[in-house]
Each structure stands twice: as structure tokens, then as C-alpha cells.
């Protein structure tokens, strides 16, 4: 059975790109979220094997979403997607419970390495 992933990013371009990379690696994209609040709601409903989480999103940011999810589901496997120059935010996200991070622009090999570590 294919592993499931929830992709959270406010930019359609990013969601599409990440979706392509992950589908190529055999993942089943079961949901997409454009805000942090939506990410939390979808996580509860879908309980995916993996979540990719953008840091800056409207409504609720990615870090708060990580906190909310991890609080309820400590085993949640969340991969942060960060832009360059967001060092402090990435560290904050890790402290909040994110398992790893990738930096935009995405290189498929790096994304898959990180996914492997998150799921491993």
C-alpha cells in the first residue's frame, strides 16, 4: 500500500512541484492545505504517514500548525519546507517537533533524502 502524504503550502506552484516529486517516489498525496489551520484539520481527518509543511502561510503559520499537530499526535512525521534565510524559524520548528527540513528551491534528491530520514 502506498504511503500517504499531506502537502501544506499556500503556493499552488510549490504544492504541485512537491506533489510531483513525492508521487514519483510512490507516495499517495491524500490531501493539500493552504493554511496552518487547514493543515491541522486535515491531519486529524487523514492521519497521513507524512506531512510537508511550509513555514509562512496565512491564517495559522506552519510552526503553530506543527505545535498543534504534535501536541495531539506526538508521532506525527512532519517535514518543514523553508526558504533560504529562515534559519531561526527552522530551528523553532524543529524545537516544536518537526522531524527534518528541506530548503527551497527544491532538489528532488534532497527532498527524498529528507523524507527517508523523517520516515526512517
Amino acid at each position: 500500500m502506498a504511503r500517504t502524504v499531506l502537502i501544506c503550502d499556500d503556493a499552488l506552484f510549490m504544492r504541485t512541484m512537491l506533489g510531483d516529486i513525492l508521487k514519483g517516489a510512490g507516495f499517495d498525496v491524500v490531501g493539500e492545505a493552504q493554511t496552518g489551520a487547514e493543515a491541522v484539520k486535515q491531519y486529524k481527518a487523514l492521519k497521513p504517514d507524512l506531512v510537508t509543511m511550509d513555514i509562512v502561510m496565512p491564517d495559522m503559520g506552519g510552526i503553530d500548525a506543527v505545535r498543534a499537530i504534535v501536541k495531539e499526535f506526538p508521532q506525527a512525521r512532519i517535514l518543514m519546507c523553508s526558504a533560504m534565510g529562515q534559519q531561526a524559524l527552522v530551528i523553532e520548528a524543529i524545537q516544536a517537533g518537526a522531524r527534518d527540513f528541506v530548503v527551497k528551491p527544491f532538489q528532488p534528491s534532497r527532498v527524498l533524502e529528507a523524507v527517508q530520514r523523517v520516515l526512517g
Binding site: 523553508s82 533560504m84 529562515q86 534559519q87 527552522v90 530551528i91 524543529i94 524545537q95 527534518d100 527540513f101 530548503v103 533524502e113 529528507a114 530520514r117 526512517g120
Partner: protein, 594 residues
């Protein structure tokens, strides 16, 4: 150059030289030979040099002017009479105060810099030292192209979190300056292989190297192996160890499964070693206190216009620091007392056919588990008549006849509120009475007595335990309650039966000694059932007494906690302790019942 590294060395070396200086100045007066002045000069010179090196210019200047004055004495331009020595001693005091002030203020900002040393310090300064107990250092390097290295390093630390034996890392927080290299410190219990695997699993790791921490240790070994520790921390450690010993003793009494036996045996061995180390750690030679005494005697003798020679013996005898800290004051009091009331004036001594110069001896020696310190003068002896007079005036004595024995006389002398000085003299009338001396010695678990002979002199003998923290004690039972008697005062225990004589009598004969039999049931006011079947022979000086008890339970290590007497409490207790079975017990002070 970082001068703060040298402060400890400076402290100990100035301390040493100030003592040397004072000692040789006192000697200078009595023996105007050139060796004393040369020694004083050397000490002042050393103080000048090391103070200047630390940037303590005020101190260096004072030492320099003292050096000049000593040079004048050395060259014979100034005669080392009492007035000169007074002035020199005052200058030495001033110097000592300046040193203390300088140490408190810290190394001077205006200290000369050693440029070349700075460069290497700068490099080394970037690396913080490995924490104590580090056995392995794991060097980690991230891939040079790893993005957001600080976040990656945070993941590495999280991967290691909770791992046994992890002591920390350098850096332990990561910012923009983080260059992708970090060191992780592990103690011997850590699994280095597991740590390396965890580190690699965090991603973007280029290299992991495990190294024994020896190089770091050798770097610090070059500096010094001496460590100055706050005495309080040592006390805390000793207390903890003491409680551990008590717990161990309790553990031995609980029935344990066979496989625990070996571990308990091993625990006992390790505890024994630790206690031995702890005792050694806390031991300080009496020299630290003795050093001050020549000055005390000299100043006191000057004030009353007497010439007195002080002989010190046994300076190398060691005592627990906690005890050493407490006995300085009583010793000083006994010495001032000897100068003021003991040794006669020169004229009186000549009239009595004694050498004009008085003599006081302070001697220390090891004696079983204790240290005996003797303060002995060759003066006129304690005037029983005068003590009684004073005691009567103070309303402390109402018997017609004077005290019959030295012990009685000494008890009278140690009553609070009795001062024998005709006027409050500058020497011994400083508000510290013999009662304070006696109480201090007793609080330490020691004993003091006095022997005096008219026209021949007076001897005070103190017996002090070597260490405070853990004491060997005899556990006895009286009326269903357990008490601990410190073994320092116990010479033996005997069974009370028909062969030892009449148990109902108030005296007991053991071999050739006859001694009073003190019934603890009576002293403690016990009325319950029970029979006195054994006696503990307590020995203080050459006084002996047998303490009758219901039962001898055994010998134990106890941790004595002294306390302030609770109102209404019997004065025969010197502290409380927890026995091996966890029950609290009072510690009996045999001295008070003898």
C-alpha cells in the same frame, strides 16, 4: 594575557610570604641576627615582585617601602628594637590588608600585556573546555553544502537527546556564525557507536570522528593540579557521603537477595575508599593556625611588658579543616590568658628563682582517633584564691572552702560571666572567656582539662576528634531508648556482673582502676523496666568513669548533627544522629556526666 588564571597562585604565595614576613619580624626582635632580617627582606621582595606582575601597584609600592626599611635594618642604620619591630609589623599588616583588597578587586586592567601570549589565547578561547568527566569527544563536521547548518546541528543534538552519558556539546546553541563543526562530549558510560549512528541519521553529516579526551586533559594538566574549593562545598560533599554510609549500613541490615550480596560488598569497598579520600581532602596541617601564634604571643607580651618565648611543636599534625577553623580562637585565648595571667613579670620570676624569660609551649600530637593539643606555661599557676574571690563577687560561688581539685577549679573558671582580669585588659579581656573556649571545644566533640601547680605553671589539654563528619560511636540502650556515645571518649566496655564488684555501689573497679559508676538511667531520668547489665568506660584526660547502660547494641558509624540546646533539654547531649536502622538517636556527651 588573562591574569585571572594566576589569582589562586598569587593568593597562596602572598599568604605564605606574609606569614614568613611576620614570623621573621617577630624573630628579629628576640634574635637580632642577620638571618631573620634577611628572611623578612626576601619575603617583602617576593611580595613586591609578584604584586607588580599582577598589576597590583599599590601593594607593590607598600612592599617596596617595607623593603627599604628592612634594608636599613640589614645595613645596621636602624636598630631592630621593639619600637622598630612594632612599626615593621604594622607595615606588614597594612601590606596584608592591601593584598586582600587587591585580590577582591581582581587583576588590574592596567596590567602589562604579553602580546605573544594573546594570540594563542585567542585561538584557544574559541573552544570551550570539555566538561568534567569527559571520556570521549565526538567531532562532527557537516557537509560543506548543507543548507541551514544551524538547523541541521539542532537536529543532531535532538537525535542525541536523552542518550546515556551525554555531557553536552560545543557549541550548544547555533547561530549564523556556526561553521558546521561541533564537538559532542560523552562520559565513559556512553555508547560512542550509537552516538555516531544517531548523529549520522540527522542528515548532511560529512564526518564523525570519535576521540579519547586525553589531549584536552593534558592541556589543563600543564597548568596546575591544585584546586581551591570553597570549604562549604567540601562540607556538603562530606555530609552526602556521611548519609550514604548510614544508608549503606542500613542496606546491610535488610535481607537482600543473594545476587545483591556482591554488589553490596563492592559498595562497601568503594564507600570506604571515598571516605578515606574525603578525610584526606579535608585534612589540613595545624601549621595554618600555629603560624599566627608567635605574633599573638609577641603582641600580648609587649602589651604587658613581659618577655616570653613561644615553643611550637607538632605543626605537621593534621586535622579536619572544619575543626581547624574553629580552634584558632580558643588557642589564641588560651595563649593570651597564659601571657596575661600565667607568666609572671621578669622581676617576680627572678625572685622565684626562674629564668627571667617566660616560656609557653603549644604542642600537638596524634593520639588514637584524636589530636591532643597542649598549651603549657611555666608561670605562677592559677590562683585559686583569686578565682574564688571573683566567683563570689559574681555570685557564682557560695561554698566556704576553695575548690579541692583542678577539675573543680577549672569548672569554676569556665563559668559564664567570670573574668579574672583585674581590669578589662587589652590582652585577654576581649569578651572571650574560658566558658567560650570550653563550649567551642565541646561543640567540636572534644574535651579540655586543666592542671595547675602553684609556682610551676599551668597546662591546658585539649583532645579533639580528627574529623567531624563521620564518627565511630557505641550504640547503647537505656530504658528502651538508643543513644550513641562517640568512641573518641570510650576506652572499653565491660559487662556488669558479680565479678566486677558490687553493682549497686557508686564505684566500679576494672582491673587496677577504680572509677565512679554513673547510672545513665538516673541521669536520663528513666524509670521504666530494665536492668543495668553493662558499662561503658569513658576516658577524658586521666579522668575515667563507667557509664552503666541496659544494653550494648554495637558499634556504628554515625553522622553527628550538632544542634543548639532546646530549652528544658538535658545538657548531656551534644547532638543527634540517624542510626543504621534509620532511627534517630541522641548523642551522649560523656564529658558532661563524668
Amino acid at each position: 594575557m588573562d591574569l585571572s588564571r594566576f589569582v589562586d597562585l598569587y593568593v597562596s604565595e602572598t599568604h605564605e610570604n606574609i606569614r614568613l614576613l611576620q614570623h621573621s619580624l617577630v624573630e628579629l626582635e628576640s634574635d637580632a641576627g642577620t638571618s631573620a632580617v634577611a628572611e623578612a627582606f626576601r619575603a617583602a621582595h617576593t611580595l613586591k615582585g609578584i604584586s607588580a606582575a599582577m598589576g597590583y601597584q599599590t601593594v607593590a609600592d607598600l612592599a617596596h617601602s617595607l623593603e627599604d626599611r628592612l634594608d636599613a635594618v640589614r645595613a645596621g642604620r636602624v636598630k631592630p628594637d621593639a619600637g622598630t619591630v612594632d612599626a615593621l609589623l604594622a607595615a606588614a599588616d597594612e601590606l596584608e590588608e592591601a593584598i586582600t583588597a587587591a585580590i577582591e578587586a581582581g587583576p588590574s586592567a592596567g596590567a602589562p600585556e604579553a602580546g605573544s601570549a594573546d594570540a594563542t589565547d585567542g585561538l584557544a578561547g574559541r573552544q570551550s573546555p570539555a566538561p568534567d568527566g569527559t571520556a570521549l569527544v565526538v567531532h562532527v563536521r557537516l557537509r560543506p553544502d548543507a543548507p541551514i547548518k544551524a538547523a541541521r546541528a539542532t537536529l543532531i543534538l535532538r537525535a542525541l537527546a536523552g542518550m546515556p552519558g551525554l555531557l553536552g556539546s560545543d557549541p550548544d546553541q547555533f547561530d549564523d556564525d556556526f561553521d558546521g563543526r561541533l564537538r559532542v562530549f560523552l562520559d565513559p558510560s556512553a555508547d560512542a557507536g550509537a552516538a555516531a549512528t544517531a548523529i549520522r541519521s540527522a542528515g548532511d553529516v560529512e564526518e564523525v570522528q570519535i576521540q579519547a579526551s586525553a589531549p584536552a586533559a593534558s592541556a589543563s594538566a600543564r597548568q596546575t593540579r591544585q584546586v581551591r574549593v570553597d570549604g562549604k562545598r567540601l562540607d556538603g560533599l562530606a555530609d552526602g557521603l556521611g548519609e550514604l554510609s548510614v544508608l549503606y549500613a542500613r542496606l546491610q541490615r535488610v535481607g537482600m537477595p543473594a545476587q545483591a550480596g556482591d554488589m553490596i560488598d563492592r559498595l562497601g569497598t568503594v564507600l570506604g575508599e571515598l571516605e578515606h579520600e574525603m578525610r584526606a581532602l579535608r585534612m589540613v596541617p595545624l601549621r595554618e593556625v600555629f603560624e599566627r601564634l608567635p605574633r599573638v604571643v609577641r603582641d600580648a607580651a609587649r602589651t604587658v611588658g613581659r618577655e616570653i618565648e613561644l615553643v611550637l611543636e607538632g605543626e605537621d599534625v593534621e586535622l579536619d579543616r572544619a575543626i581547624l577553623d574553629e580552634i584558632g580562637e580558643p588557642l589564641v585565648h588560651l595563649l593570651r590568658n597564659a601571657v596575661d595571667h600565667g607568666v609572671e613579670s621578669g622581676a617576680a620570676r627572678i625572685a622565684a628563682g626562674k629564668p627571667e624569660r617566660g616560656r609557653i609551649r603549644v604542642g600537638a600530637e596524634r593520639e588514637r582517633g584524636s589530636v591532643r593539643i597542649v598549651v603549657e606555661d611555666d608561670g605562677a599557676g592559677v590562683s585559686s584564691v583569686r578565682i574564688v574571690e571573683k566567683a563570689r563577687a559574681a555570685g557564682l560561688y557560695d561554698r566556704a572552702e576553695p575548690p579541692a581539685t583542678d577539675d573543680e577549679l577549672f569548672r569554676l573558671m569556665s563559668m559564664p560571666g567570670l573574668s579574672t582580669a583585674d581590669a578589662v585588659s587589652a590582652v585577654s579581656g576581649r569578651g572571650v572567656g574560658m566558658d567560650v573556649v570550653v563550649n567551642r571545644v565541646r561543640a567540636l566533640g572534644g574535651a579540655i582539662d586543666m592542671k595547675t601547680r602553684a609556682g610551676i605553671g599551668t597546662t591546658f589539654r585539649m583532645r579533639l576528634p580528627i574529623t567531624l563528619a563521620v564518627a565511630q560511636a557505641l550504640r547503647v540502650r537505656v530504658g528502651g531508648e538508643d543513644y550513641a556515645i562517640p568512641l573518641t571518649h570510650v576506652s572499653e566496655a565491660v559487662e556488669l556482673d558479680d565479678t566486677t564488684g558490687d553493682v549497686t555501689a557508686d564505684m566500679l573497679r576494672v582491673r587496677s582502676h577504680t572509677m565512679p559508676l554513673v547510672r545513665l538511667r538516673r541521669v536520663l531520668g528513666v524509670t521504666g523496666e530494665g536492668r543495668e547489665v553493662a558499662a561503658v568506660i569513658a576516658e577524658i584526660g586521666d579522668r575515667r568513669a563507667a557509664l552503666a547502660v541496659d544494653e550494648l547494641v554495637g558499634r556504628e558509624q554515625i553522622l553527628v548533627r550538632t544542634f543548639d540546646a532546646v530549652a528544658g533539654m538535658l545538657p548531656c547531649f551534644s547532638g543527634a544522629t540517624l542510626l543504621a536502622d534509620g532511627r534517630p538517636a541522641l548523642v551522649l556527651d560523656p564529658l558532661s556526666v563524668i
